[in-house]
């Protein structure tokens, strides 16, 4: 599988997991569980590359970092802005 194909596979797995409901931001361990065949270090590199491309985004609770898809779920700033608009 080429690197691009792998990245697509990772993106699709994240997208499906998010669409299933529950969490809109995933920990690296959540993603690993979806893709047990990919080595964790390789998976982390693929996720980071997807972030650089703008297809994924980082989200932090303050102490741990999660991955999300831009526009899916509510980011902290979006939530604040919504409060402000209301």
């Amino acid at each position: 599988m080429t690197k691009e194909e792998l990245k697509d596979k990772v993106y699709k797995a994240i997208e499906e997991k998010i669409k299933k409901g529950g969490k809109s931001k995933l920990n690296i361990k959540d993603i690993q569980r979806e893709l047990p065949d990919i080595n964790p270090r390789e998976l982390k590199n693929l996720c980071n590359e997807l972030v650089r491309e703008g297809r994924l985004e980082y989200f932090s609770s303050g102490s741990t970092v999660m991955y999300g898809i831009p526009g899916m779920g509510i980011g902290v700033e979006t939530a604040f802005k919504r409060e402000e608009e209301e």
Binding site: N27, I28, K29, P40, R41, K44, N48, V51, R52, Y58, F59, S60, S61, G62, S63, T64, V65, G75, V76, E77, F80, E84
Partner: protein
Amino acid sequence: MSEIKKHDTPMVDELKKGPWPSFVDDIYTYAEKHKKQACFDIMGLLELSYIHKETHWKHGGIVGVFGYGGGVIGRYCDQQEKFPAIWAFHTLRVHQTGAKWYHTSALRKLCDMWDHRGSGIVNFHGSTGDIILLGTVTEQLEPIFFDLTHQLNWDLGGSGSNMRTPACCMGYSLCEWCLYDVQEMDYELSMAFQDELHRPAFPYKFKLKFSGCPLDCVAAVARADLSFIGIWRDNIRIDQEAVRAYVNGELPPNSGAFSDRDWGPFDIKKEVIDFCPTQCMYWDEKEQKLYINDQECNKCMHCIAVMPEALKPGTDTGVCILIGSKSVILEGAQLSTVLVPFIKTEPPYDEIKELVYKIWDHWMEVGKMRERVGELIQRIGLNRYLIDVLGIEPIPQHILMPRVDPYIFWREEEVPGGWTRDIVEFRKRHPA
């Protein structure tokens, strides 16, 4: 410039009183001088928190600048109408230099940038070791990052599920007891692990800290997932003349520290011999001579710190590597445990890097969310971690004391020659 709005802060103002320096005074002085609304607002918000007895800060969301998954910690205030200037008040971690030596011109430039783009409030240093720039808005994050990296040659530190900014003690730059080049190792490993420092990879944080000697000024043994502590394996060097000078009161113990009170004449038995954790020292009153059984010494360095003119660490020096300390969260706080009791190492520290990658690869694979390496070891057991994960043969330094539990279960491959077990034959001799 819009009009500055000041807040009434009687409770916060109480903190200006007393003999100690006050952050309230400092922030107000700065706010008045630079007309910074954000500084007035954080004082107002603090007053409100004192009234409500709860915090009005939220954190999370913003993680970093483009391409970085750490270095910025998002902070938001939930009192945006009252304190609009601190609606967002993000923290930036800036990677400190080895042993925290700075040129004043570098600091001036950093402060000028922060005056311009942030609240102007800094914290030298946060407990991880970084320079903490406190308070800026989201729009300023990328310009700050550009200024830091392209104009000032600084970089962001670690936060979130990243390797955190490594930290070291003053090392050779200031200390006679330093036993290996902590600044060199700090720099080399920081540069080698840039990807892990800036891009989240782990179940939780991972810290490296380097102390030049067992006195451990950076508290590596209590704070780092992997602690590197300078150590020696030959004998403590003794100057018997100087020992006698301490005993006769000619030299002040502890280099004159604790001299604000009269503790009475120096008592070598009470202050040194009896405090030795392994009881490996003996003071012969008749001979006026100090004996040390170095085989038993566990290198706590108490005696050396009390009588620095008389005792010095040995000359065959190296590094002791410990693993697993952490503060509370999943399990309670714990100190590091010895992994490698002594290793001679020098740049580029390839064997250390190899060990770190081995620890990370396993932790990334089997570590649970928010589980530090110390908790992982606790979960699977130190013996299994050493043998199965790191491939290290257990040695006496790995344990605190011999086990008292008599039930020892061996695996067949752990016993030379193994064994064969025929249950049918066994039952012939031992009916169920």
